[in-house]
């Protein structure tokens, strides 16, 4: 039993690597698009098998515990649906000549390497290895953001690369400081970087060093999470890259960085004399939320609009985890899952919409529910969900965040609710024009893959109405771990 479950961890790492090699080798894009889907599906199955089998003992490098398994399953699931969406998206890009067949080989291989990097970051038990994995995932996305080679795409990729590198450098410095703090207690060598060892001994680490380390880690990985004021790369990277990449950036890569922040937050919480990480995270979360909510009003590009919405939601999630406690952590976790599902569904819809209409400008897209009801209603549902209207899942998680804040820090709830309402107004304002106005632009039928977006939306809808008790107990358990 243990042997099989060890295989599952190996599988979620090796399948993407093997697939990347295969995808780079095959020239035929029809075959590779399907292969990409198949590989992502197998990875998802391997991740799901982690849920039912025994977990392996944590080693020096790899670890599966209750916390990261949530992230792994979410990651592989959205990775799989994105690969399905990507198959129909790129077929259209080839027709219009925006991408060539050789671009696609590169794109597919990079997609799988990115999945590998993200999975590795989740299962790594070693803070050095986690850093390497996050860096790998970032670099592959930089390359994919620049895929179209246009003026704007290159600017976006360059900005992403520079800011991402600075973030990653700060995170590495923080990682080195954690090692320095651990070394006198744990001893030299690999053990002082192993997560499970660190958390046991964290109480005896030098608190001052740990404090400084956490600031660097929060800034470094926070750049990746897209927290204001370090978010500048995010809207450009979302708007100019291929839309499947926008979906995984918002839905997954931000979570990877968030996961890293959470791990180190736990470490800090285990040390009694260190500063409380909460207030720092609350400040950054609230800043991002309110800043992004204001920025939503001035957007003219539809992908940029939703990129700012991602900053807003990451702000809410970081705020919730910063508040801490079982209820706020539960809300944060639920919100993260709901946001990943909804935002990637929105990007799936937006990707097809901008292909059909031939533009990403909000002003040029109008009356979608009449011309393309399938896409239009998906977008309506997605935006209603992301704006936090009942009965969808995000309403529930936002409600939990707000009510837990009211119960404990009523003053903090005021800016929180203000930001939420502001964002709500902006999103609905834009939605009415895009979905219901006078039909404008091309009315050609769309060859879209509806399954990924509607399956995500159905899950979000179902979660808003009824959360199965096993899921609730599971999330409650994880929320307790998060302290």
């Amino acid at each position: 039993m243990t042997a099989f479950s060890f295989d599952a961890v190996a599988a979620i790492l090796l399948i993407p690597v093997g697939a990347a090699a295969l995808l780079a080798a095959f020239p035929n894009y029809r075959v590779t698009a399907r292969l990409n889907v198949a590989a992502s599906f197998l990875t998802l199955l391997a991740a799901l098998s982690l849920l039912v089998t025994d977990r392996p003992q944590p080693g020096q490098y790899l670890l599966v515990d209750d916390l990261n398994i949530v992230f792994i399953v979410l990651n592989t699931f959205v990775g799989f649906t994105t690969s399905v969406f990507s198959a129909s998206y790129i077929a259209h890009e080839l027709e219009t000549g925006r991408l060539t067949v050789s671009n696609l080989r590169f794109y597919h291989a990079m997609f799988q390497i990115m999945m590998f990097g993200m999975n590795l970051a989740f299962v790594s038990n070693n803070i050095g290895l986690m850093w390497v994995a996050v860096e790998l995932a970032t670099l592959t996305t930089v390359l994919m953001v620049g895929l179209y080679r246009t003026h704007e795409a290159l600017e976006a990729a360059w900005k992403y690369f520079i800011l991402g590198s600075v973030g990653i450098a700060l995170a590495l410095f923080g990682t080195i400081l954690v090692y320095m703090a651990a070394q006198p207690v744990v001893g030299e060598g690999t053990n002082a970087m192993v997560w499970t060892v660190l958390i046991v001994h964290a109480a005896r680490f030098d608190p001052a060093l740990l404090n400084v380390a956490f600031v660097f880690l929060l800034l470094g990985y926070g750049t990746k999470v897209g927290l204001a004021p370090l978010h500048a790369w995010l809207p450009d990277a979302h708007a100019e890259g291929p839309t499947p990449i926008s979906a995984v950036l918002s839905g997954l890569l931000l979570n990877v960085a968030l996961y890293a922040v959470l791990r180190f937050k736990l470490l800090l919480a285990a040390s009694p004399d260190a500063i409380a990480p909460g207030p720092l995270m609350i400040t950054m979360g609230l800043t991002s939320l309110i800043f992004a909510a204001f920025m939503l009003y001035r957007r003219r590009d539809i992908k940029r609009l939703f990129a700012y919405s991602s900053i807003e939601h990451m702000g809410i999630i970081v705020f919730a985890f910063g508040m801490g406690g079982p209820l706020a952590n539960f809300a944060g976790l639920l919100h993260m899952v709901m946001h990943s599902l909804t935002k990637s569904a929105i990007f799936f819809a937006v990707g097809h919409i901008s292909q059909v209409k031939g533009t990403q400008k909000i002003a040029d897209i109008s009356g979608l529910t009449e011309t393309h009801p399938g896409l239009g209603w998906a977008l309506v549902m997605g935006v209603v969900a992301i704006a936090g209207l009942p009965p969808l899942g995000i309403f529930m998680s936002e409600f939990l965040v707000v009510s837990s804040t009211f119960a404990r820090q009523p003053l903090l709830a005021i800016p929180l609710v203000f930001g939420l309402l502001l964002a709500f107004g902006a999103l609905l304002l834009r939605l009415t024009g895009v979905a219901f106005g006078e039909p404008r632009g091309s009315t050609a039928p769309a060859e879209a893959s509806y399954v990924p977006m509607y399956s995500h939306l159905a899950l979000v809808f179902a979660a808003g109405i009824y959360l199965p008790p096993p899921l609730v107990t599971w999330f409650q358990h994880v929320a307790r771990i998060l302290g």
Binding site: E152, E155, W158, F161, A169, I176, M180, A208
Partner: protein
């Protein structure tokens, strides 16, 4: 620990900070790259010295990478690129040299105050290395912020990364140091020089990031 070995380590790490300062006031690309090559040589010496006093042989690999790759291959490559692009003119700094130097002094003070205060119990050598390393990282950031040219931003990033390598080697017995320095070298070689500079030039005939700024998608 105190005595000659400590003094030499201190001298080399301090020298690295000094070279970082030299980078701040270079207003020609070739000069900037030469200073960076010097930076890499000092780093290589510093890492090799650490390898010797810690008796950690794998650090010699890191030192060799610093020497061969960062002090020779990258500067030569950058020289070629600059010549081919014909941009060996002055580089415009976004901020004047005076304020930049003052900001640099402020950053070094900040990192000294911060790191020396939080690490009273650490090994004195590692402690000073960390303080110097943070100074170099912040100075590297300053170079990136004050330059608008893609090549000099890359140079700033590489000097920042040298600071990280110094910190990692100073932390005694830290695993993965060699791997991290290899990963960084690959990152720099492939991504920066290969992909970006080539394409930025291909599309814009300029490596001035300012030329990229004219599109913001929103404002115009």
């Amino acid at each position: 620990m105190h005595g000659l070995t400590f003094d030499i380590a201190h001298l080399l790490a301090g020298g690295l900070v000094l070279v970082s300062f030299m980078m701040l006031y270079q207003d020609r690309l070739f000069a900037l790259i030469n200073v960076f090559a010097l930076h890499a040589v000092v780093l290589a010496l510093s890492v090799a010295w650490q390898a010797y006093i810690q008796d950690a042989h794998h650090l010699y690999v890191t030192a060799a990478i610093a020497l061969v790759f960062k002090a020779i291959v990258i500067p030569v490559g950058l020289h070629r690129i600059i010549q081919r692009l014909g941009i060996h003119r002055d580089i415009e700094t976004a901020v004047g040299i005076g304020p930049t130097m003052l900001a640099g002094i402020g950053l070094v003070t900040l990192s000294m105050v911060l790191m020396l205060r939080v690490t009273p119990e650490a090994d004195p050598l590692a402690r000073e290395d960390l303080a110097f390393a943070l100074s170099i990282i912040l100075l590297g950031l300053l170079v990136m912020v004050t330059r608008r040219n893609a090549v000099s931003q890359v140079v700033g990033f590489m000097s920042l990364e040298n600071g990280l390598v110094l910190a990692a080697t100073g932390a005694k017995g830290m695993p993965l140091v060699v791997e991290i320095s290899v990963a960084f070298s690959i990152l720099i070689a492939f991504i920066v020089i290969g992909v970006f500079l080539f394409r930025i030039r291909e599309r814009f005939d300029s490596v001035d990031i300012g030329a990229l700024d004219d599109y913001r998608g929103e404002r115009r």
